[in-house]
């Protein structure tokens, strides 16, 4: 019989680097693309914020003499930061980490995973392109009708329509991603990885995915109705045509309040990975932490109307009580984190430093949120700069510090090289100073009566000094990002080789090479607790 040599299978043929990235269904590459894409939009949103802060530095209109442009700036700043940075950045970290942490070779639906990602740059281009097609959306990221409807002095341009389509695309991407995470987490865990042995990061992504899958379709339908109102003469939200302006707010916040937890829970997951590793202790109260996460997720669906206390169309005591109650599981988490540090052996590497930044700053964001739960106090501070301070202490003090903790923590896994510690610490100090200089004075501005979303203010209103401080702080934050970009640039080329497990970590992603092979694992260690690598290193004596 004739024999002939086996030719290599076609699928192993070399694929060019760019082609590979454009067509990949590998969750790790998709995760990295999520992170890079989100970071680019972080820069875009940051520049928009700098324009806003530059205009507000002093009374008088200095740069944006057309106030319409000012309204576009803060509308797009918030839209880009929330929809194109915070949510996808955390989804991207989850995308990279979750399959590795549960010992799976990939996400459950790799092609849908690629689809969810590729919708994001498309949506981002739609949103940003509106600047060049007659003006971006300018009705605020909340897009309340009737202001967001068509009409003179309202939102006549195509910018608002592009915004709606962009946000619907992002929402669709989120829903697909959420379903993918849920199926992955429930069906693809490695043998031994029971639910109560999953890393907290996986738990937070699980709860986040439930929120996304339940809440996002609601805002999507609301935005479709808004689009119909604007373009086809619908009157869903037009009070002069039989519609209701308040209906939109209920629909909008039914998504957008849970969305706040979508933006913070995975960041909590990140620091719940980081704090134990760099304290050499397990997370204090692992199960309590999981129940608290689930509790926040559940309560998150019953507090949406606390954004609407001043509308006169809300059953106030109910939403006040439930908003106050959210402080309880959040407080439990805070104590769990602090007691993880307590009596540990702390190594102050960059991930831990950013995680501590999260703890100290998110604490303020949690506490100043309780003021809004108190309805009469909310009557004073609602729609003032106090609220701007609050959301930034949660989303910057919390989410952004959490994101950087995660980036410094997993960069070695993603690239095989360490980020530079000194540059990371310089960045942290600048960011911490700039952040507090920007956002703490906003508490005072809000109490002194400065409303949000105004392009200018009277010179004798008493707001000049705090505004100047906030603007200087904003530019310090911008400067703090430069060392990070430089850090990534030099570390990719010359960074210290990481090895499989540079941090002596606990979870499965560190049991494979850095970066991991496409199929993730050659073999898995035994999984007998939420810290399989710790067990492998120290055995049962460690417990």
């Amino acid at each position: 019989m004739a024999t002939h040599a086996l030719t290599p299978a076609a699928s192993t043929a070399y694929r060019g680097g760019l082609y590979e990235w454009l067509t990949t269904t590998d969750h790790k590459k998709i995760g990295i693309m999520y992170v890079v894409n989100s970071f680019i939009f972080f820069l875009v949103g940051g520049i928009l914020a700098l324009v806003v802060r530059a205009e507000l530095a002093q009374p008088g209109l200095q740069f944006l003499t057309d106030e319409h442009v000012y309204n576009e700036m803060f509308t797009m700043h918030a839209s880009v930061m929330l929809f194109l940075f915070v949510i996808p950045m955390l989804a991207g970290l989850g995308n990279y980490v979750v399959p590795l942490q549960i010992g799976a070779p990939d996400m459950a639906f790799p092609r849908i995973n690629a689809l969810s990602f590729w919708m994001l740059p498309l949506a981002g281009i739609l949103l940003v392109s509106s600047f060049f097609t007659g003006g971006a959306a300018s009705a605020g990221w909340t897009a309340y009708p009737p202001l967001s409807l068509d009409g003179p002095l309202k939102s006549p341009g195509s910018g608002q329509d592009l915004w709606i389509v962009g946000v619907i695309l992002i929402g669709t991407s989120s829903i697909l991603g959420g379903i993918n995470f849920l199926v992955t987490i429930f069906k693809m865990r490695a043998p031994g990885m029971t639910l109560f042995r999953m890393p907290i990061m996986v738990w937070t992504i699980l709860v986040t995915s439930v929120l996304v899958v339940m809440a996002t379709p609601v805002i999507t339908s609301g935005l479709v109705m808004l689009f119909i109102d604007r373009n086809y003469g619908g009157h869903f939200f037009d009070p002069f045509g039989g519609g209701s302006a308040i209906l939109y707010q209920n629909v909008f916040w039914f998504y957008s309040h849970p969305a706040v937890y979508v933006m913070i829970l995975p960041a909590m997951g990140v620091i719940s990975e980081v704090l134990p590793v760099f304290s050499r202790k397990p997370l204090f109260g692992y199960k309590a932490f999981i129940f608290a996460t689930a509790g926040i997720g559940a309560l998150g669906f019953s507090v949406w109307a606390h954004h609407m206390f001043t509308t006169g169309a809300v059953f106030l005591p109910f939403f006040s009580l439930l908003t106050f109650m959210i402080a309880v599981p959040t407080g439990v988490k805070m104590f769990n984190w602090v007691f993880t540090l307590f009596r540990g052996q702390l190594t102050f590497s960059t991930p831990l430093i950013y995680a501590i930044g999260f703890l100290t700053m998110f604490l303020i964001g949690g506490i100043n949120g309780a003021f809004s739960a108190s309805v009469p106090v909310d009557f004073a501070i609602h729609d003032t700069y106090w609220v701007v301070a609050h959301i930034h202490y949660v989303l910057f003090g919390g989410s952004v510090f959490g994101v950087f903790a995660g980036l410094f923590y997993w960069f070695p896994k993603m690239t095989g090289r360490m980020l530079d510690e000194t540059l990371g610490k310089i960045q942290f100090v600048l960011m911490m100073l700039g952040f507090n200089l920007t956002f703490f004075p906003m508490h005072m501005l809000g109490l002194a009566g400065m409303p949000r979303r105004i392009a200018d203010y009277a010179a004798d209103a008493g707001w000049n000094d705090w505004n100047m401080a906030a603007t200087i702080g904003g530019f310090v934050i911008a400067v703090s990002i430069l060392p990070f970009i430089w850090n990534v640039f030099i570390s990719l080329r010359n960074g210290k080789i990481a090895g499989d497990d540079p941090w002596e970590a606990n979870t499965l992603e560190w049991a494979t090479s850095s970066p991991p092979p496409p199929y993730n694992f050659d073999h898995l260690p035994e999984i007998r607790s939420e810290r399989p690598l710790f067990d492998a290193r120290h055995g049962q004596t460690g417990h």
Binding site: E67, L341, P376, L447
Partner: protein
């Protein structure tokens, strides 16, 4: 284990303790020095505002206590439990403690329930809306101007204040109210959502189209003669920040005189058409019906101005010269009304006429020759 945490060298604990004490002292110093005052709302001038302030003070005290406690715990743990080169063995692997976890669930629950109850009580006090208030004001917020209608006990309009901002030189404009009397405000919007916000009241309420909101307040008697800043607090478009107004607190006698004057002004027969050339301009849908006007040089002229927009949306026709100096400043008129505007003689040249409330959407060229 030989290197249990309790037997560690002391310096870390000393440093951590000193830092925590310094930080607590700093917080205390902030409040002692008066800087802490910036973390409180301004002094309230209404009975309702004072209740809100009392509630704020309690919430704030609880917040500061929790902040100091947790922040101190974090700083202590971070400074005290640094890993030393001698720390080879693992620290004690504490997985949790049911007792402390129950405690730190129950105590915060108690605290938030307490805050909820006192908030609810305050809410009930400040939300009372009586059937027969002393004064009724119907505030209408349109893009981008407030107007205040004064109603009698039966709800019938007796006077309209079209100038929402108090002018310190003429003493005109603003929403005047008598101190010590209950003022009921009803809120309506002809276009988008606005919000009635007076920082010194510690209060705001949205003005929602299609829904009439209502609230009540009483200005403290010792505030008579004061003027309070007010502003739209809900983004309402490009002129959002220009939607300013003032609340003027008057003694009841001064208020009665003020209202009588406003009533007389509201009922006054409109100024007759002055002699000289007359132009006609109509505003509708936030637009003038023309973008170019012509007037003879050196002669006073008049414009018969008709505002066909809905009530609540005000317009006027002001004129500025090529350098941007406003040379004619007219009072705004409400939607659904008309006025005869008299203009002074202007030298030949090109001018801009514009609506002072919607300068972006409503302007045109006035050629004087």
């Amino acid at each position: 284990m030989s290197s249990s945490p309790r037997k560690r060298p002391a310096p870390d604990a000393l440093v951590a303790g000193v830092v925590v004490v310094i930080l607590i002292a700093l917080v205390a110093a902030v409040f002692m020095s008066g800087w802490g005052d910036t973390l409180y709302p301004p002094k309230a001038v209404t009975a309702e505002g004072r209740e809100i302030r009392g509630l704020y003070d309690i919430v704030f005290a609880v917040a500061v206590a929790i902040f100091v406690l947790v922040e101190a715990l974090i700083v202590w743990s971070v400074l005290r439990y640094r890993r030393r080169p001698t720390d080879v063995e693992l620290p004690v692997q504490t997985h949790g403690n049911n007792l402390v976890e129950v405690i730190w669930t129950l105590i915060p629950t108690g605290i938030v329930l307490f805050l909820f109850v006192i908030s609810w009580q305050t809410l009930n006090h400040i939300s009372v809306v009586s059937a027969a208030p002393d004064i009724r004001v119907h505030a209408i917020a349109g893009q981008f101007q407030w107007q205040f209608e004064y109603l009698d006990a039966s709800g019938k309009k007796v006077a309209t204040q079209l100038a929402p901002v108090y002018d310190t030189t003429t003493g005109e404009g603003g929403m005047a109210v008598p101190v010590g009397r209950s003022i009921q405000v009803t809120l309506d919007s002809p276009d988008v959502i606005h919000a009635f916000y007076v920082p010194r009241f510690l209060f705001k309420r949205d003005v929602v189209p299609g829904q009439t909101n209502r609230f009540e307040f009483t200005v403290d008697a010792n505030e008579a003669g004061q003027v309070f800043r007010g502003q739209c607090a809900e983004l309402c478009g490009t002129g959002h920040r220009t939607m300013l107004f003032n609340v003027i607190a008057l003694t009841p006698a001064d208020y009665d005189a003020w209202l009588a004057a406003l009533t007389a002004k509201s009922n006054a027969t409109p100024a007759p058409l002055p002699s000289g050339p007359v132009l006609n301009v109509t505003a509708e849908g936030i637009k003038f019906d023309t973008t170019s006007l012509e007037a003879p040089a050196g002669t006073p002229f008049a414009i018969v101005f008709t505002n066909k927009d809905p009530s609540g949306i005000s317009h006027d026709i002001d004129i500025k010269d090529a350098s941007g100096t406003v040379v004619a400043n007219q009072d705004t008129i409400n939607g659904g009304t008309s006025a005869n505007y008299a203009y002074p003689a202007l030298p030949a040249g090109t001018y801009t006429f514009f609506c002072s409330i919607h300068p972006g959407a409503m302007s045109g060229t006035l050629t004087v020759k």
